[in-house]
Symmetry: D2
Subunit: 364 residues, 4 copies
């Protein structure tokens, strides 16, 4: 399905970095969900450049919803959000040297030279604005039904954030923070490291850790449409994500079964596990414990230092120095995209299991 994701709740993304508008269509969202435009705007703000560590490009993201909302609620018909591209300086970009680490070369091959190469075109991180707006609608639906989620920068430039301790409170707090860390001191160190990398004409990467609470047990499928598989499928769309792990993930390689297994116990008629090494998923299906996963975000490929590359027009090798405005890190901005993708994928999994209208049901 290419630029569409989902089975019961689907999102379609379109637009290019320097085209007139980008947008998203959400199809299959239940009718009757209140849509708060201020909430959408707030999510878009979290995706936007924040302060000195991000690009100076001012993206105001004045979105408009042109279908699927009537009298403040979803109608059940496709919900379309459009975001005009305002401040686009096309002179910063032109077909020529393929930027290392970007999709310039692969786009050129895939689209036989017809790609809109300006600013990365359809591959641009800019498109995540539409994704974040769509995800904001999905999150409003989830929240009403008792499912909340949040993401922190678990690691950046080699600095490790504190882990989740008080899940519900941590999530609430993270959702207000422009630079989402659980330990403010570590956050300060990360931002200094980002600024230092930027000053050195370089960039840094990081890892994002996401927690979702309130998911019922029994969601997902045993083969192929596992919760892990569906989420990973969508998460890898986010530019710069190069790894996804659930629960203890790669650390499980070095554990023994007796350490990795989560013992079950009974709590007032509900089955729980004492630990959560499996991240809330067994056999591809939610077990009712918190859903926990991490995404690896590579360092921003746009750096100020000169790089060796090939010119797509001439086929000749050349030395490229990227000018213009670029972030020395995107991990803090990618957070909004991870939240959005997670919300959309969870809506889809829930709607498949409980029916198209479940998300529009009574508030939990």
């Amino acid at each position: 399905m290419k630029n569409t994701f989902g089975v019961s709740v689907c999102v379609t993304l379109f637009g290019e970095s320097h085209g007139p508008e980008i947008g998203a269509v959400i199809d299959g969202m239940a009718p009757g969900i209140p849509v708060d435009e201020a909430y959408i705007a707030r999510q878009l703000t979290l995706r936007r450049p924040a302060g000195s560590i991000s690009t100076a490009r001012q993206e105001q993201d004045p979105f408009r919803i042109v279908s699927g909302v009537f009298c403040g609620h979803t109608t059940g018909a496709p919900l379309t959000i459009l975001i005009p591209n305002g401040d686009t300086r096309s002179r910063d970009y032109q077909l020529g040297a393929a930027r290392p680490g970007h999709a310039d070369y692969t786009a050129h091959i895939k689209y036989h030279g017809y790609e809109d190469y300006r600013g990365g075109g359809h591959f641009s991180g800019r498109i995540t604005a539409a994704l974040v707006a769509a995800g904001a609608v999905a999150r409003q639906a989830l929240t009403r039904r008792g499912v909340t989620l949040g993401t922190h920068i678990a690691r950046c430039a080699g600095i490790e954030d504190a882990p989740f301790r008080d899940p519900a409170a941590d999530i609430a707090r993270l959702n207000e923070l422009p630079f989402a860390v659980l330990d403010a001191e570590k956050g300060k160190q990360m931002q200094e490291a980002i600024a230092a990398a930027g000053a050195a004409g370089d960039s840094v990467g990081g890892a994002l850790e996401t927690l979702a609470l309130g998911l019922p047990a029994g969601v997902g499928e045993p083969w192929f449409d596992t919760v892990e598989g569906v989420l990973a499928h969508a998460l890898f769309s986010i530019p710069a994500v190069k790894g996804v792990e659930f629960g203890d993930g790669f650390a499980l390689c070095d554990l023994r079964g007796s350490e990795a297994n989560d013992s079950l116990y009974q709590d007032q008629g509900r089955v729980c596990t004492r630990t959560n090494h499996n991240g809330g998923v067994n056999g591809g299906i939610t077990n009712g414990m918190p859903l926990l996963f991490r995404c690896a975000v590579k360092p921003t490929p746009s750096i100020a230092r000169a790089q060796q590359t090939v010119n797509l027009l001439t086929g000749e090798e050349e030395r490229l120095t990227i000018t213009g405005r670029h972030d020395p890190a995107i991990v803090h901005r990618a957070r909004a995209a991870v939240d959005a993708v997670t919300a959309l994928a969870l809506c889809d999994l829930l709607a498949q299991r409980y029916g198209a209208d479940w998300l529009g049901g009574q508030e939990a």
Copy 2:
């Protein structure tokens, strides 16, 4: 699509651990691909218990192809492989205590108690036999068209295998090895560690690393159906896989952009990269470099030690000691499933791009 995966080339899995037969249907495979049943049998052998480190259950896997092959070639119609379940000792299993780390509890919730709980039912690793058989057909198709792939146990019980050095030769060698390592000495240590864990009533995990050669540049989609997303979606189906990373994966979190970017150069008209930190994929699309990824495989959850759990019939907590035959590691067996899933997903991506018949074209 639940138990079906793929868009142009699709595989559907069915069967339970203790049912009469398991199987797979491959739909959309091009006509004219020679099908070598001996090759399929060989792949099934790689998935089977090998020697002292694996369970004594003898699975002979005498499969039969009941549709889609005529005169030794694929017909283009759905290709169905059936594998009867032979040596199934149902008395080893009964509904009762949920085995920690397994899907017993989640299956029970999802299927409202109607699940075939014997031996894990449809969640059993046994189902990967059908997946491996289907993948063997896909690999034969890929090989003819110049795409080869192989997987090694990159890490097991804390022991690290040597990395890929001579890709084509390494792949050829791995495909003959029952315990797939690049450094035989490390392999011996791993097997000793596995046996030691087994002797201690415990189990170990590991990481698998896969390399695919010969993929053309330009395969995959920018949003959602990225090469990473499609592969990860399928890979997370393999029981015990809890993480997937491409190129340097999570290690990219700690690199700087100047280290992580792969410089491009020109080699006889073909654009290459000097390093492969991105694992052969940029912007979700193959760049013509080797495709490289790793899967985290958690330790086998079936261990001999007593574990605390809940009885699904009574709802009471109880202490469970799993008797019967169990592997102290499955990472070496999961290798065959990873190869199978990779082959099927690559066939699908290639058929989407180049058309339904491309895989049946002339040998490369």
Copy 3:
């Protein structure tokens, strides 16, 4: 998705007329639905040759369910039905002259000569046995939930059956009849006309009319996945179906709006329509009235008379006389396939709307 149909409840068909086995996989059927094998066998009988007007080929259809049923109920995992091909006389068929009206030529082009051409291979009406068996499971699910359906031969060889008069009773009666007509006298005339056509080395066509009761209002989607579109998509798979119409269908072309509109009224809190020119669907969505549609079934293309055609091996024109056993009509047998397809498509639409488990809910 080719040989798979459905979104939430999916069916995959496989097999060839003269291969060892044919079969179907149903995926996504809710757990907890009782599966009565005798009922499946009965549906298969309705698809089988009946008496003097059908081919002498004795198809016993001894199916077996190899997955997805445990203790007499669906488990929720993929349900696989296999039907061995017994009495197949391959010497009756060989690649050579393309039979007019059949898929011999189109299969040859599509599959580049690799098709299993024996008896029509994967295109054979034989495959509908697997479809009917799968549909029988779907009908058991629907019946429990209060949805019933039946099909009669509305027209055959120019003879018109009586229309539905007492829907529930008519459906019950039709489901017991091997030659499904509402007016027994018309049925006798049809059978005589079929026999006469057969005696003349020729064949006849007909129309099937299907009624489904008990569908809730609000099922289906406005664009693309309309109830009409989804059903038609599946119905056109049935060999020989060349037209599908809902409600008054093509007769609506000649009506005026004042005649075609169905007036609404209120009956004990439920909105109904006084007429049903729209066949129970408005804007692609069920309105709670009976679902009514008709399929055009062309005359059996296999006839005893000599026909002009082209030899697929030599490319030369030749005169073909089809020997062997063939039905002078298939409309009465296609009935079972129409019922099956309808049941599967309705299950899918209902599961999408009300959730994956709805079909396994309490008996209506």
Copy 4:
């Protein structure tokens, strides 16, 4: 997939009759196809009210393409067309009496009262403007590759148009006509009949017949994704379409096999049929002959006469007289939607068979 149709080339529709904008996203269209906006505008004109027989509502349809086109060619990324809704008089509509023959009641049930009921909302024929615009892009792609298509009003108000005689020329002519008939005299009679019905406060229906030339043999799938099934799926989305038949369609019910079979012959190495009773499709797959099908279009449900219905707000029965502007026929306007849907579905079938880039290949 609800409001999205297609596998390789997909179209997503969104918008409501009285919302700010409607639109379509085409995903998967090959890069490199020239996009002529004047051609799109022309197609939109054919869908618009024409002269005295259509509603006075002036829809200027000033569309804009906001993504997927760069330097006059498709880029291969999602192509989005937006059409603002100009002249919308909301005061003509309000929730109240369900209009018989419309989707007012079914939308109300499906969307639990949250639907945008103004002017039919998402169910409005207005949405076909976006469909027609998307179809126009698809037709430009097909034409370049040698596939042309056209539709005439085969029947309206009981008046029969002449059949296709000179396919290529007929198609060329039809594509220029606002009221598409092959026999101008019959067209005049139809328009008079439409005007008469309108004068009587009533409306008329009709049948559309479509012919497509230049399709290669071998396109489509044997089960489920037959050419007939895929086209019918999409065609039934067009408001008012209640029947679809291929080749002789329902007339085949009354033919004998010897009459219905199309004899094959050889013409300069190409296999052809002497007749085309099967409409260019055998076994669900194109045979290289012209693709021919008909759609039944019911009379416009909006009529001036008083009708009996139920008020959706009060639940009471009431007598409804629809005021405002309405077409006494839509069959001539539905033509543009049929052409659009056909073009999109054929692009999808061709791209699945020949690969994602085939449509962008050299001009035929």
